[in-house]
C-alpha cells in the first residue's frame, strides 16, 4: 500500500533522472556529421548518378546518411558500413570499383596499356633510329658543337634586327 502511494513520486523522480542524465548518456555516442561524411564521401548515392553520398542534397541521401549515423552509433566500422551498402545496393555505391573479380580489369587494363604501350613505343623508337639515313639534312657537325642557344629563335632575332636597321 505504502509503495503504491509513492509511485507517482518515484515515477517523477525517475523521469527527472532520465531527463537530466539522458543527454550526457547520449552525448557519449553522438556521431558527428564529420564522422558520417568520412564514410559517406567514399560512397555514391545509389539514386542520383555520379554524386557522392556526402554532398547529395536529396531526401533519400539524407536518410542514407542517417543509416550511416545509426550504424556508427552501433559501433560498426567504415568497412562494415560500406559492405552493408554494397550488399544492399550493389557495387555502384562504391566510389571506385572493387579490386577483385571482374572489376579488377578496370585497374589492370590502364597499367597494361601504359606499360605495353611504353614497350611498343620504345621498340618503335629503336626501329626509327636503326633505319639508315636517307636524309640529306643530317647536320655535318655533331650537335654538341653547335652553340648552346642555337635555335631558330636567335637566328630570327638577328634577321629581324638586320631587317629593321
Amino acid at each position: 500500500m505504502n509503495g503504491k502511494r509513492h509511485l507517482p513520486l518515484l515515477l517523477l523522480l525517475g523521469l527527472v533522472a532520465l531527463l537530466t542524465l539522458a543527454p550526457t548518456a547520449a552525448a557519449q555516442d553522438v556521431i558527428t556529421d564529420d564522422q558520417v561524411n568520412e564514410v559517406a564521401k567514399d560512397l555514391y548515392c545509389p539514386v542520383c548518378e555520379s554524386t557522392p553520398l556526402d554532398v547529395c542534397p536529396t531526401q533519400a541521401c539524407k536518410d542514407w546518411r542517417e543509416v550511416i549515423r545509426t550504424k556508427l552509433g552501433e559501433g560498426e566500422s567504415k568497412t562494415q558500413i560500406m559492405e552493408y551498402f554494397r550488399v544492399q545496393y550493389g557495387d555502384r555505391v562504391l566510389a571506385e570499383p572493387p579490386r577483385s573479380g571482374f572489376d579488377l580489369i578496370v585497374w589492370v587494363l590502364p597499367i597494361v596499356a601504359v606499360v605495353g604501350g611504353a614497350f611498343f613505343f620504345a621498340r618503335y623508337l629503336n626501329r626509327l633510329r636503326a633505319t639508315p639515313p636517307r636524309d640529306a639534312i643530317v647536320p655535318a657537325t655533331p650537335a654538341d658543337e653547335t652553340p648552346p642557344p642555337a635555335d631558330d629563335y636567335l637566328a630570327r632575332v638577328e634577321r629581324e634586327l638586320r631587317e629593321s636597321s
Binding site: T32, D33, D34, N37, D42, Y44, C48, E49, S50, T51, P52, V55, P57, T58, K62, G90, D91, R92, V93, L94, A95, E96, P97, G101, F102, D103, V106, W107, P110, I111, A113, V114, G117, A118, F121, L125, L128, R129, T131, P132, P133, R134, D135, I137, V138, P139, P142, A143, D144, T146, P148, P149, D151, Y153, L154, R156, V157, E158, E160, L161
Partner: protein, 667 residues
Amino acid sequence: MIADLGRIALLLAFVASVYAVVIAVYYGLVRRDERWIASARNANIVIFPLILLSCTTLVISLVRGDFSLEYVWRVSSREMPTYLKVTALWGGQAGSLLFWNLLLAAFTALAMLRHWRREREHDLVPYALAVSTVTQIFFLGISNFVENPFLRLATPAVDGQGLNPLLRHPGMIIHPPMLYLGFTGFTIPYAFAMAALLSGKLDDTWIKLTRRWTLVAWLFLGLGLILGGRWAYDVLGWGGYWAWDPVENASLMPWLAGTAFLHSVMIQEKRNMFKIWNMFLVLLTYLLVIYGTFIVRSGVISSVHSFAQSAIGPLFFGFLGIMLISSFVLIVVRWERLKSHNQLESLLSREAAFLFNNFVFLGILFATFWGTNYPIISELFTNEKATVGPPFYEKVNGPLFALLVLLMGVAPLTMWYRTSLKRLGKMTRWPALAALLILVALFAFGVRSWVALLGYGLLAFAAIITILEFARGTQARMRKGESAWTAFVNLTARNRRRYGGYWIHMGVVIMGIGIIGSSVYQQETQVQLQAGESVALGDFTMTFRDVARFPGPDDLIITEATVDISRGGQFLKQLTPRTELYTRSGQPMTIPSARSSLTEDVYALLISWEPVTADRATFKLYVNPLINWVWAGGLIFILGTMVASWPDPEPRTQAVARRRRAVVATD
C-alpha cells in the same frame, strides 16, 4: 507562325548540305568541273544563314513564350528571366543540337570563304568542303528528322516546364557556347586532313592551313573546360571544380587528343616525319568530339549532366563507326606515301620529346576513356553497373600528369635532331637544384604529403626552366640594344607561337599549384549550429547569425543563412550560403558562398534548415587552399593560347601583291 519559317529554313539547310556534297563529289571531283565546285561552295556557305535564321526564330519563340512548341514548353517558362530564355536555345536536346549545327556551319563557311583563292589550297578545299559537310548532313539530319525543335504539342500549353535548375546560372551564357565552339572547330582540321588523304596532296599544306583553326578550337575547348569548372565550383556545392564526371571527361578527351596533335604537328612541319601519326591524332580528336557529343546527348552513361536523354544513341554510334572506318581505310590506302624516310637521330631531341609528350597524353586519354566507359562494360558483362569515381582517375592519371610536368620542363631545352646529354645536364642542373631547394623549404615549413612535395618539386622545376627561357630570349634581344621591357614584349610578339606556348606552360604550372593545394590540403567540416554559435576550421571561425526563407523568382523558394567569417578574432567577411528549392520539379540546389583570397577560399554551404527547429541550421564549411591559382592559371593559359593563335599579317599575299605591282610596272 515564325517557328514554321525556322522549320522550313532548317529543312532547306539540310537540302543545301546534301546538294553541296553531291555536287562537290560527283561534278566537282569526279568530272572535274570548276563551275560545279563553285556551286557546291556557294551551297555550303548558304547553310550558315539558313541555320542562323532557324536559330533566330527558335529564340524568338522562346522569348515570346510560344508554348505550342514542344521544345519551348520543355525548356522555358513564363517567369524565367530573358537571358535564360535566350540561352534555353542550348538548354535542351533538340535546341543544343541545332546550336551545334549553327556553330559547325559557321566554322565551315568561314573556312570556305578563307581558303579558296590560293592555288595550293585550291586542290584541298573541295574535298574539305565535302568532308565537313558530311558531318553537317549528319547533324542536320538529326535536327530535321529525329530531334526537331520546331515540333508542336497536340494542344498548346499555357506555361512551360522551365529550364533545368542546374542550368539557371549566368554560366549558361558562356560555358556551353565555348565548349561547342571547341567541339565543332576541330571538324576543320579533320576535314582538311581527310582532304589531303583524298586528294593525295600529302605535303604539309593541310597542316599549315589548319594550324590556326586547330589552335582556335583548342582555345575554345580549354576555355569551356575552365569555365565549366568554375561554374561547378560556384553552383554545385561540393567544394570542388572537377569531379571526373562522364560529361566532364567527354570534353576533356578531345582536348587531350587535340593537345597531343598540337605538339606533334611541329615534328611534321620541322622534320617531315610522323605524317601517319598526325593523321591518326586529328582523326582521334574528331571522333572524340563526336563521341563526346554522343555521351552528353544520348545519356548512355548516366551522369549529373544527363538532363538530355533521347534515342539518338544508335544514330551517333553508326555515324562514329562510318567515319572511323572510312578514315582508317583512307589512311591505310595512303600508308606507303605517308611513310617518312627521315629518321629519328636521337632520343634526346625535340622530336623525341614531342613523341614522349604524345605518349603520355594518349596514356591519360586512354585511362580516362576506359574509366568513363567502364560502367557500360561492367553492366554488359556482370549485369551490374560499377561506378568509376575520382579516386580511380587520381590514382591512374596522377602519375601521368606528373610525368607530363617533367616533360614540360625538359622538352623546351632539347634541340631538333639531337641534344647531347651533357648539354641537357648543364641546362637542367641549376633548375633541378633550385627546385630541390624549394622542396626542402616546403618540407621545413611542414609539408609532409608526398603528393604535394613531388608535385610542387616538378612544377617548380618546369617553372624555373620556362622563366629562364624567357630570360635568355630577353637577354639575347637586349644585347642587340633593346631595353629590357621592349625586349621582353618583343620576344613574345615576334615569336608568338613559341613564347605563347611558354605562357601556356606557365599557366599550367600555376593551375597545377592550385590543383595540388586545393585537393591535398582541402579541409572540411559539417556541423549543426544554433544562432550565435561558431565552428572553427583551420585558422578560420564561422559564426551563424540568422537565417531567412523567402520566395525567389519563378517557382523558387530560397533559404538563406547569414554567417560571419573571422580569423584570429578578426572579422573578415559576411557570407550568405543558401539552398534553393524549385517547387515544381522538387529539385534542391545548394548554393555556396565563399570568401576568396589568393591563399585560400573559405567556402560555406547551408546544408539544411527546417522552420520547425527554428534557429538551428546545418552547415558545411570548406577551406580550399590556393584554389584561386587554378583560375588565375587558367586565365594565363587562355591568354597564352590567344597570343599563339593570333593571326599573322599575311606576308605571302603581300609579297604576291608586291610582285604583281612590279610586273604591272615593268609592263
